[in-house]
Structures are given as structure tokens and as C-alpha cells.
Symmetry: C2
Subunit: 576 residues, 2 copies
């Protein structure tokens, strides 16, 4: 990772083209009839059309300039364009078309908490909505500039809050400003021999505040924890005042205000500062790969390792389809690779499931933990594939979003869906969601729907699906149908509507099925208290009353716990 | 533990007298002038006076009887008496005096969630406050029956919701009704070879719902986690409807509704059902004791073990004073004991600090973990005292509240105070709180203020103080002064106002200093949404607007993180 990656290009990811690996291109052609060599370029920058700004010549602009300085306010096309969308498939389609449709009426770059408070006061008085903007990497519509019922909307970019404020090695705590990117935070901590250990695929661009606001989960979450587990304290500026959560190691002082700010997605205020747990930089890292004949054997092995307290820090188990796509991408056709495949086939793993296991966080018991984990994997008939696939994964760990641009250039529909459920329910949920996506996207050709388990917990794990399909005549409508089918499959099969992508606009119609009418009402009450005029990120996270429900279904009451096959029947039913 | 312990006697704990160990009695006499053999008995049951019930002949009683059955409604003196108080020192003083002062106007024992919902509707319509009542073991006034601004108040006893509903061994999850006691839950889980591993001193009487509502922490929390860590899902009935939190292993679907219900102390509704993580019953248990010359050496050892991932499941480090009291209590004056003391004295531990380390939860790496932990303890000059003090602690682990009755009989003031802070701040906070208690209770004699660290986290730990002092002429006023001094010392020195005792009435005046004006306002908004007429447990947890502040101080803004000595200075201050 570079300490400061180049800015995201306005229509995609990073600053460079990444070719589609030849093996994957062949697979796309052979199985889905996607022709090789097609290149559908995004619109030229000159051809991009933005809606006019509602704030041109508006008194609010002078006020914002007085608060933050004239150079910190942008009404120009480029500023508005790079704050016009996140990075979901639908966002990319919109950007690449050149017809941007929705853009903020202006952008502001405050440099302090005090400035942010003043900006929110000015915007509330001027009836202008505010969209907090970190790295702009949301894949659920979280930074789409909606003005809701307000007169206008601005994006509030946090990039100037990019300092670390304190590092406490004894207590293993660091205080970081919200606008630091993941990469910047790691660079700062490395000077102290420390790491946050939070590496989502977006971490070159996504920010500390964004991680907190969306409950991000990194690739090493099995060892380091989700970002919400890493947060001890934080500060948030709301239109009605500030929220300050002290960084106690634990407290019983009522409901958790920290857990109310985590996941708030800009609806309750602007997170300005986060106090996080950190760790010493690992003394050694070791990545290795294994193959299981069946996905369920891999799941059983992951469960045994996790519940036995010896899960790897990075644990990533691909199903058959994802393993096949991954092998196609890695394919170089050499003799060693052919031999390797023959060996696996002879052992019954002709359609194996790849497990990447990474060990990097535990100086004291690392060796013992790894030995126990290997014994468990072998008991579940895992076959060692050595270090090189693991090293290869490590090199490519932030590669996905770069490759996506090339796939869109080639006319491929590419998107991800994620969820989590209990161990007992994991295979059932996997099959249901994969089938739903497959059925929704079948069009004479078969889409490639791969999945991996990447975040493990004592009671269950996440599922992360990647979809590759023909984009068809109306890619947007096609994906919306598939997404709706996947979301309903998730909720009908006791998954959570999102494990780490957050709610944004895309999951908003499903929130009431997830947390119930009472849960939504509680969130609305908090939002009304902290943001009385409703200027904060309207249209995200919390449905307006009455809740909009996807696909005309009536919301069903969430169940107290997932239906878990193999559970003991209750000895006595309660006297209800 | 018995599966079903006998009911709490109305004026104290358990059902039996527990004598004061002779060594402790001598210490109390020698150092505090508390005479041996005094016995101040509680008032006779016949002499107890209760205020008249405001619900005698009230229409609400007929409604409640129609909902739950006539046998489930109690207006009699005994029912009202045993729901009149929790089990703090001040509660015990009030009960023992026989002048009860405050009691519920009635008691109801519903047996289902539906009945609870109907009871809340009836009470809201009749302007009657409702105090959810589990084991009645609150030590912060959490179950004191206050009617607030309402016409009357009833206690809603959850003891009839005492069933387990499901056990899922694969996902290691159990669904328990809120009225089960800790002991009942363990008895049910033992049938499946499982344990919750939650053993607070109150667990013979305290309930699953109470653990959740107060963020309880058990003696094995270092290994098993606090109760809030164990909760995956729950159900709560509020006057405005129900809250249902599905038991996903993790989710990014917005702010955590689970963490809003945890710690809600009956102010938002009645918790009826909790889905918890469980574990296999440990294959082996091992308890051992160590001595450190200095408290700070013990703290450093605990920190190294915790941050290295090898903390014992039970870790309990006593300071000099608590060690001395503990030795007095265990004193039998035999030759072996004398020899042991001589050995410690020769090694410079004449005033040693005792560490109890218990290992019971980790089948896979238990041995390796224990070996690493021992090496760390020895590096911090810990001296092994063998297994017997640990076994002795294990036998006595639920003993404290029983002994307390005997101490009150002897005219001793006995109470506890708890907090938590970062590792770097732990010794400073310890000294500040111990000094505050000592100064407030000094009266020509010196109180015994002991403390132990009992809950450890990567970033910090808890402190648990036990105070023994002369009760004086006005024990209540005397303790209120000491408690206020301790709370101010905690907040002035970056501790949390409560690590696991919750807020109740006793910490309510300090909540705004802990979570800020914004945090309190957010909680008030949620309460107003879920309980529009404010009947739920009035006067607890959330201060009425405007906030009452203890001791005439103005609330100061909480700080974003504790002031941590030894921190690196920020490289660049933010541009504020």
C-alpha cells in the first residue's frame, strides 16, 4: 500500500487500468458468451452532464466560506462530480454513462470539529441537507447526494480531518481523526510499531469515520475483530449538539451510546474522531492454502477452529464456483499447475473449495494455534496447497475493485452481496441466496455466482457472494431484480440484510424486516432528537414513516433467532 | 450451587446466618474499635411497617387479575415487602429498620410475553408505573419502587418466565426466558454439556433478564466475556410495542438495537427472552494463587497476559489492603500458614498482593496458555502460592453477600464501589478512589478500603473496592457522603461511573457527566418513543430533564478518552 493512494478516478477505482486475466476472459466467453476484446469505455469527461447547482449565488455559500474559508467550498463541476456517487455497480453505471443525474449542489471541506458544527448550524438554518463524505466508497448508496424534502444538498468531505491525535502504547489505544484513510492510519501507526489491523478491500480510500459509520469488517476480522469491535470511543457533531463517548474499556452505564453512533451512516451527525484499539505490528506473517472436497467440510473445519479459539486471523473459504473462478484467474497453464490439479483430482477434489488461512497477529501462541488449526483442517480432509496461493491472495487482496472497471469495460455485470447467519444455518442460506441470484440472472447463459466465508464468529459466519453475468439490455433493471431476489432470499432464510456493507439506500427497504417496527421507531426518535430538521443524509438508513417495503411485501416480524436446524426441542414451552 | 436456591430472606441474603471469620472479627476490633460479639438484629417481621397500597379496591387490580389470573396479583404485605428494595447497603439498612417507607402498591407475576404486553397497556391506561423485577439483587436502587409522577406503582416479577426455549449446540446458542436465575440457566445448560459461564456473585438469585438489563459482568468474564458480550438476540415488550433483535452473529444494519436494550434497566420495557452464546462445559478446571510484592507489578502482569491473549478465565488481583483482609479471614493460625507467611516475608512480600488465576474454558490451548501466563507472572516477580488459596476462593465465590448480613449485625458499614479505566490510568484511579473513600470514612479510626482488579480487557481493566468501616450514628448519611466522594473521584480521574453494577438511582446523578448532554438526550428520546407515558421504572437510569447533578457541581463535558499518562504527544494537532 502507498501511504497516499492517488485519487479515485471519477468513473471508477484507483488511477490505472487493470486487465482481465486471460483465464477469466476465456471463462466469460465460453460460459456466458461474453466476447473477448470488447471495450465499452466510460463517457468522456467533457461529455458529462451534471444537474445545475441549486446553491449558485445562494447566501449559504457566503456563510460556508466565512466558516471554512473560500478555498474550502466547491461549486465547480469537478468537485460536484467526484462527490456524486459511491462505488456500487449501479453507481458505476450511472457515472460511466456521463448522465450523472444526481449531484451535490456544493462541496465543503471543513478542517475542524468547530467548523463542522458551524456548517451544520448554517445548513439547518438554510434548509440544506448534508451528506458526510469520507472515501466515497459506499456500495449501498450511502453517499448519494439526496436533498430529501430540503432546498438543496451539500457533500461534507472529511479529508482535511486527517491527523492522528494520540497514541497510547501501554493501553494499546490510538485517537484518530475521522478523515484519515485506512492506509493513512496504518502509516501513522507503523511509526509506533502498531497496527489497527483493519484491511477491507476499500482501505486505500475509505476513512476511519466511514469504517465507524458503516460497521466495516476487514479481511483480518477473524483475528482483529470488526471495526465496531475496535472502537472504544468517538466524537460526533450533530445539528443539535455533540455526542462524546469516552474510551472506557467497558461500562455498564446504560444503553451504549457508542453502539448508537456506530452504523449511523451520517443520519445522526458527522463522526469527527474515533478512539480505536491497536496492536503491535505482527512479528511474522504466514499465509497458506488448503483444499476441501466439499464446501460443508470447509465450513465444519472453520467452525471447529473458531469455536476452539484457534481460528486464523484471516480465514477465507471459497465455495466450488468461486474456487473455479479463482483458479481461472490464476491460471498460467504451467506444468506445476497441471500436476497440482491432477493431484487434487486424484484425491476427489476435482471441484475443490479453497481455504486461505493467514496468521499474523499472535506473538505468544501463534505456533500452538496454527498447529491446532492445521490438525482440525486435516481432520476435515483438507489438503495442504502450500504457501503460494496464500501469498498470491495477499498480493491481490485489494485488487477486486480495480478489476471491476475492466469487467464493466467488457460489458460484464459484476456486483457483490453479503450476509451472515448461524453456523447451523450457513449452508442453507448459501444455497438459497446463490439460487436466487442464479435464477434472477439466468438468460440462456448461466451467471457465475461464487461465494466465500470470510468473517467467523463463535455462533456463525458471513457469506460474501460475487456475481458475474451478462449485463443485458438494461443492466440497472437487471441488477435491481437480482438484488431484490437476493435480499428476500436472505431475509426468508434468517440471514442479516448486511454483514458489513451497511444499509444506505439499497438495504433501506429491508431494514424494518431486519430490526422490526419498534427498532425503526427507536432510530427515528434518536434522529429527530439529534437532527430536528432532518438535514443529515436524508433517504439513507432509516425509512421515512411509514416504511417503504420492497416488492410490495408486507414486512414480517423479525424472529428472535434464526431457525437453526438440529436444535434441541425445548423441554417445556413457555406458558404463553 | 443448588438448582433452586431458597428465597432471599426479606431483610438480607440467602436463608442462613454466616458467621464472621474470627480473624476478620479481630481485625475489625483491633483496627476500627468495633466490639466483638455485638449483634444488632433486624426488626422483627411483625414490627415491619409498610405504606398503605394505593391500589386497594382499584379497578386496575381487577384488570390485572383478568389478564394474569387472580393468583398472579399480590397486594398482601409479604409480596409488597419482598419487592420493596434491592440489596445495596442502603437497601439493607432500610429493610432492617422495619420502617420500609417505599413499597410497590402491588405485585404481578405474568407468565408470558402476551400477558406482559397486556399488563403494560393496562398500567399505561391506569397511570400506574411498572418496575420490572428479576432477582431483586440490584445494588444501585434499580428495583426500588418509585411511582414518579404516576398514581401508583407495581412490581412486575418475571419469575414465571423461567424456561429455556431452545439450545443449539452446533451454533453454541441458547434461548432463555428472562426470569430464569443464573443458577437455573446453568442447570438447564448442563443437561446439554454446555455452560453460559456467567457467574456474578449474585447468580443464585439474579436473572437472565436482569443480567441483560444491567450489563452484568461475571467472575469469569476475562475468559467468557461480560454478559453484554454473550447476548446475541433478545425480545423486549415496551408500552408502545415490542422490540425483537434477531440473533445474528454480526450485522452492519445500522446502530445496534441490541445495545440499546442492553443496559436499559427497565426504562424502555421488559426484557422477556435472551439469546446467548454458550460453551461446552470445561473439561478441566484449575485454580492457582500467586503473590506480587507490589500491586503495580501485578497490574503489569495482568496487562501482559491480557494483551498477549493468555489471560486466565478468572483473573482477580487484590491490592495490599484486600489481601490483608483476605488473609485475616482465611487465618487459622496453623504452622503451615505461619511458614508460608515467613517465606513471603523473606522474599519481600510482607504486604503482598494476591492473584487468583482460574483456567477453565479452553480445551484446545489451555495448557499452552497457562504456561505462557505463568512465565509472564514470574517475569513480574510473582511467587506461586499453589492451588489451595485458589480452591478456597472458588468455594467462597458466592459468599460475600451472605457474610454482609453478619457484618451489618455487628454494626459494620460494608459496601462496594466499582469502575474501569485504561491500563495506563489504572493505578492512578485506584489511588484516587481509595483515598476518597478513606478520607470520607475516617473518624478517628481508619476504614478498611480494599480493592481488586477482576475484569480485564486489551485496553484496560475494572477496579472493585470493598469498604468496611464503623457505621457511626447516621450510617445512611455517612455512606452517601463516601459514595459521592468516590463517584467524583472516579469521574475526575477518567473512570467509568459503573463497570457492572449499572446506573439505577445511585449513579443517575452522574450519568450526564459520563455520556454527555447529547447522550442523555438520545436516551430520553428513545424512552419517550417506546414508553410515551413514562410508566417504565421511573426515576432510574435516565435523569429527568433538566438533569439533576450531584453535589451542586455543573456537569463537565466527558472527554473523548481517558487522560493516559505515558502517551505519545500528537505529531500534529488538528487544525481546529
Amino acid at each position: 500500500m502507498n501511504a497516499v493512494p492517488p485519487p479515485l478516478r471519477w468513473w471508477g477505482w484507483g488511477d490505472r487500468d487493470t486487465p482481465i486475466p486471460s483465464g477469466l476472459a476465456v471463462l466469460l466467453q465460453d460460459e456466458m458468451g461474453i466476447p473477448l476484446g470488447v471495450h465499452v469505455a466510460p463517457a468522456a469527461r467533457e461529455a458529462v452532464t451534471l444537474p445545475p447547482s441549486r446553491l449558485a449565488d445562494d447566501a449559504l455559500i457566503a456563510q460556508l466560506s466565512a466558516i471554512c474559508g473560500a478555498e474550502a467550498v466547491g461549486l465547480d463541476g469537478q468537485s460536484r462530480l467526484v462527490h456524486a456517487a459511491g462505488r456500487s455497480y449501479l453507481d458505476l453505471l450511472r457515472l460511466r454513462s456521463g448522465d450523472i443525474g444526481v449531484a451535490p449542489d456544493g462541496v465543503i471541506w471543513p478542517s475542524s470539529e468547530q467548523q463542522i458544527a458551524a456548517v451544520l448550524r448554517a445548513c439547518a438554518a438554510a434548509d440544506c441537507a448534508v451528506v458526510p463524505f469520507g472515501g466515497g466508497t459506499s456500495v449501498v448508496g450511502g453517499v448519494t447526494p439526496s436533498r430529501g424534502s430540503h432546498r438543496a444538498v451539500i457533500s461534507l468531505d472529511l479529508r482535511r480531518l486527517d491527523r492522528w491525535l494520540a497514541v497510547h502504547p501501554v493501553s494499546r489505544v490510538a485517537v484518530l481523526q475521522a478523515g484519515m484513510t485506512g492506509t493513512q492510519a496504518e502509516a501513522a501507526l507503523t511509526h509506533h510499531g502498531l497496527t489497527l489491523g483493519h484491511f477491507p478491500q476499500s482501505c486505500e480510500y475509505a476513512t476511519i469515520g466511514g469504517f465507524a459509520a458503516t460497521r466495516s469488517a476487514g479481511q483480518a476480522s477473524s483475528g482483529y475483530g470488526r471495526f465496531d469491535d475496535l472502537v472504544l470511543g468517538l466524537r460526533m457533531v450533530s445539528p443539535a449538539g455533540e455526542i462524546v463517548v469516552a474510551a472506557h474499556p467497558a461500562s455498564a452505564a446504560g444503553p451504549s451510546i457508542r453502539e448508537l453512533v456506530l452504523g449511523s451512516e451520517g443520519r445522526l451527525g458527522v463522526i469527527t474522531e474515533v478512539t480505536v484499539k491497536v496492536r503491535p505490528w505482527p512479528q511474522q506473517e504466514s499465509y497458506e492454502a488448503w483444499s476441501f472436497a466439499h464446501f460443508t467440510e470447509g465450513i465444519h473445519a472453520l467452525r471447529a477452529m473458531t469455536q476452539g479459539g484457534v481460528a486464523p486471523d484471516v480465514a477465507r473459504l471459497s465455495d466450488h464456483q468461486e474456487t473455479r473462478v479463482g483458479m481461472a484467474m490464476a491460471s498460467r497453464g504451467g506444468a506445476a499447475e497441471t500436476l497440482g490439479r491432477r493431484y487434487l483430482r486424484a484425491r476427489g477434489h476435482q471441484e475443490g473449495c479453497l481455504l486461505i488461512a493467514g496468521w499474523d497477529s499472535d506473538a505468544l501462541l501463534g505456533g500452538a494455534r496454527q498447529a491446532e488449526a492445521r490438525a482440525i483442517i486435516r481432520r476435515h480432509r483438507g489438503i495442504a496447497l502450500g504457501a503460494s496461493p496464500g501469498q498470491s491472495w495477499l498480493r491481490q487482496r485489494f485488487h477486486g475493485p480495480y478489476l471491476r472497471d475492466a469487467l464493466l469495460d467488457a460489458g460484464v455485470l459484476v456486483e457483490t452481496v453479503e450476509t451472515a447467519t448461524s453456523w447451523a444455518n450457513l449452508a442453507r442460506l448459501h444455497d438459497a441466496v446463490a439460487s436466487a441470484l442464479d435464477e434472477a440472472l439466468r438468460d440462456g447463459h448461466t451467471p457465475l455466482v461464487g461465494c466465500h466465508v470470510s468473517h467467523v464468529y463463535p455462533s456463525g459466519a458471513s457469506l460474501y457472494f460475487t456475481v458475474l453475468a451478462r449485463s443485458g439490455n438494461d443492466p440497472r433493471a437487471r441488477w435491481l431484480r437480482a438484488k431484490e431476489a437476493a435480499c428476500n432470499a436472505i431475509l426468508d432464510n434468517d440471514g442479516t440484510i448486511t454483514h458489513h456493507h451497511a444499509v444506505g439506500t439499497d438495504h433501506l427497504p429491508y431494514l424494518e424486516r431486519e430490526i422490526g417496527i419498534g427498532g425503526v421507531a427507536a432510530l427515528r426518535a434518536v434522529a429527530a432528537q439529534l437532527d430536528p430538521t432532518g438535514i443529515m443524509n436524508p433517504g439513507k438508513l432509516i425509512p421515512d414513516a411509514p416504511a417503504a417495503v420492497a416488492s410490495g411485501r408486507r414486512p414480517s416480524r423479525p424472529r428472535a433467532q434464526p431457525g437453526l436446524p438440529g436444535a434441541s426441542a425445548a423441554r417445556g414451552r413457555p406458558r404463553r
